[in-house]
């Protein structure tokens, strides 16, 4: 069993900078966990503490039930893949992969067997005699992964392994890593700032900001149930639209209101929003939950706002409309057959069952727990 447990882990650098503030995280055996966040959020520091490359200021890290705070990296039974591959330039691919085993005094035939197996899995059998300099970025990445695999560790740590690759290769390696995870049945902790990588590969995403874990959850829950405005804005491309608006009450009905924009709030949100009546909130809606009225199934005037189109970006499978609603810039991901053009004023329909409302002060999601992923997104 190779679960990794972080308990109140704090990292303070000698210069006084607090990189990680009391991180609590449970990585289960065979789980693929992605630490996600913008640069400087403490995700790499967290990974390096798990690896043992960085001292833990407070709290404990345990791997497989053993507290490893004072255990050397080599005795933690982990392997790490670095962003810039960190292959030994003076050694061949074979020697790079064999180095760790050699140091552990694994018998030569066994080393040979394991290196060849790993090379086979990664499709680099033909490169074993080459030096890293003679390899392309993708090949180097494979060798770096191979160096981790041959050791057969309990836990794999990846530090932004795909960020030096071009977009096409990245997509390909993403799928390969996912397949590898399935085949190796290993625990993987993976650091990235790329939310697409996180969404596509993770069993569980850990979103960090300024050294604090914001939310831990599977890709669906962090997407549909972001705990706060930061998570909501960080996950998803294009990112969620935020509009500063007011909750207003007319008779029995609650509305999201800003200037010309006035949208009816579904009844099931009333209870949560009651305290916010008459107050400023941040109204959040994802681009794909805004439709061109012409293509909405049952457009009702209560969910429509008028937008002035600034830019239209056809992507083929969909079209992005950059528009201004009541002074705020928004992006809508609409049907590619839209006829909207820059300069037009169009009616945009909001899927009010999928919207979010954030507290203006705390930025917390007021509607947390009301958008379960299973629910069919529907247009009223």
């Amino acid at each position: 069993m190779a679960e990794v447990i972080l308990k109140d882990v704090v990292k303070v650098y000698p210069n006084g900078f607090k990189a990680v503030h009391g991180a609590n995280l449970e990585v289960e055996d065979k789980e693929f966990v992605v630490l996600l966040g913008p640069s400087g959020c403490g995700k790499t520091t967290t990974l390096r503490m798990i690896a043992g490359l960085e001292e833990i200021t407070e709290g404990t890290v345990s791997i497989g039930g053993r507290v490893v705070n004072d255990v050397e990296p080599k005795d933690r039974d982990i392997a790490m893949v670095f962003q810039n591959y960190a292959l030994y330039p003076h050694m061949t691919v074979y020697e790079n992969m064999a180095f760790g085993l050699k140091l552990r005094k694994v018998p030569k035939p066994e080393i040979d067997k394991r290196v060849k197996e790993a090379a086979n899995i990664l499709g680099i059998e033909g490169l074993l005699d080459r030096k890293p300099k003679q390899l392309s970025g993708g090949q180097r990445q494979r060798v770096a992964v191979g160096r981790a695999i041959v050791r057969n560790p309990k836990v794999f740590l990846f530090d932004e392994p795909l960020s030096n690759l071009d977009a096409k290769l990245r997509t390909q390696m993403r799928a390969e890593l996912k397949r590898l995870h399935k085949n190796l049945q290993a625990t993987i902790i993976y650091v990235t700032h790329d939310q697409v990588e996180a969404m596509t590969m993770a069993d569980k995403i850990v979103i960090m900001k300024d050294g604090v874990i914001q939310q831990i959850g599977d890709p669906y829950s962090v997407y549909f149930e972001p705990v706060n405005k930061f998570v909501a804005g960080f996950i998803g491309t294009p990112s969620m639209n935020f509009i500063g608006a007011k909750v207003s009450k007319e008779g029995e009905k609650l509305w999201i209101h800003k200037d010309s924009m006035k949208l009816l709030i579904p009844e099931r949100y009333y209870e949560r929003l009651a305290p916010y009546v008459g107050k400023e909130v941040v109204f959040g809606v994802r681009p794909e939950n805004i439709y061109d009225k012409m293509f909405a199934v049952t457009p009702s005037e209560e969910f429509v706002a008028e937008g002035k189109v600034d830019v239209v970006e056809p992507l083929g499978s969909e079209t992005l409309i950059h528009a201004t609603i009541a002074g705020d810039d928004i992006v809508a991901k609409v049907d590619p057959k839209t006829r909207a053009q820059a300069g037009d004023t169009i009616d945009l329909v909001f899927d009010m069952n999928m919207v979010h409302v954030f507290d203006k002060e705390t930025e917390e999601n007021v509607l947390m727990g009301l958008h379960s992923a299973e629910e069919e997104p529907k247009v009223e």
Partner: protein, 275 residues
Amino acid sequence: MLTLSKYGKILVYTLLLIYTMLVLVPFLMMISNSFKSMRDIYLKPFSLPTDPSFRNIIDAWNQAGIGRGYLNSLIIAGSAVVGIVIISSFFAYAISKYEFRGRRFLFMYSMLGLAFPARLAIIPIYLLLRNINLTNSRLGLIIIYIAVNIPFSVFLLKNFIDGVPNELSEAARIDGANPLQIYRHVVIPLIKPAISIVSIVSFVNVWNDFFFPLIFINDRSKATITLAVSIFFGEYANRWNLLFTSLTLAIAPTIILFLIFSRQFIAGMTQGAIK
């Protein structure tokens, strides 16, 4: 790439040629005069030998004890180089890759050696060595040379080791290497060019040094090559033919060494550790 006009090229090549002549002529004179008789040297100091002979070489070899000088210098320079490379590379590795209190101070302290020539401290050094009975001893000289050459070597090696990415040593740490294994299997192979520069430069420094042997060595059997050839500088008369010959013999090994290693030497001077 910079390009020069035709006239610019002519000018540059002329200057380079003059410089080359200035450097080469004394060498060539020394070599050509080492095959002449005294009479020939006085009459035609700039000509090629009229009656070239190896007589001088045999005389100088025997009278100055060139063979013994070679051996002593080889022992001293060789041991010093080994000591310099080992100590400086460990030192540079530690202050380059390890965080510890006083690491900056240690680096600055070692750099002080670049600012102050050891000869300034010759009296304390002499007293120090006398107290531990290492005057008139090859070991004493080796110790001095190691100390004298450490600042430059540390400076150079530290710069190279700084260029070795930390990820490499971290990867090695995770692979299971201890600090000594990281040094041996990762750092050293990557800074080979710097090690060859340090070796050559300090070997030549030690080989050519006349000052320390002159002060510390009284015993002819322990004389270095520079000390050995100095017997031809007389108080009243110089024996030019033997002097030139013995000087030629004295510098021959370093020139040969340089020719053999010039490629690594130049490569080391012009490239970083990792590209």
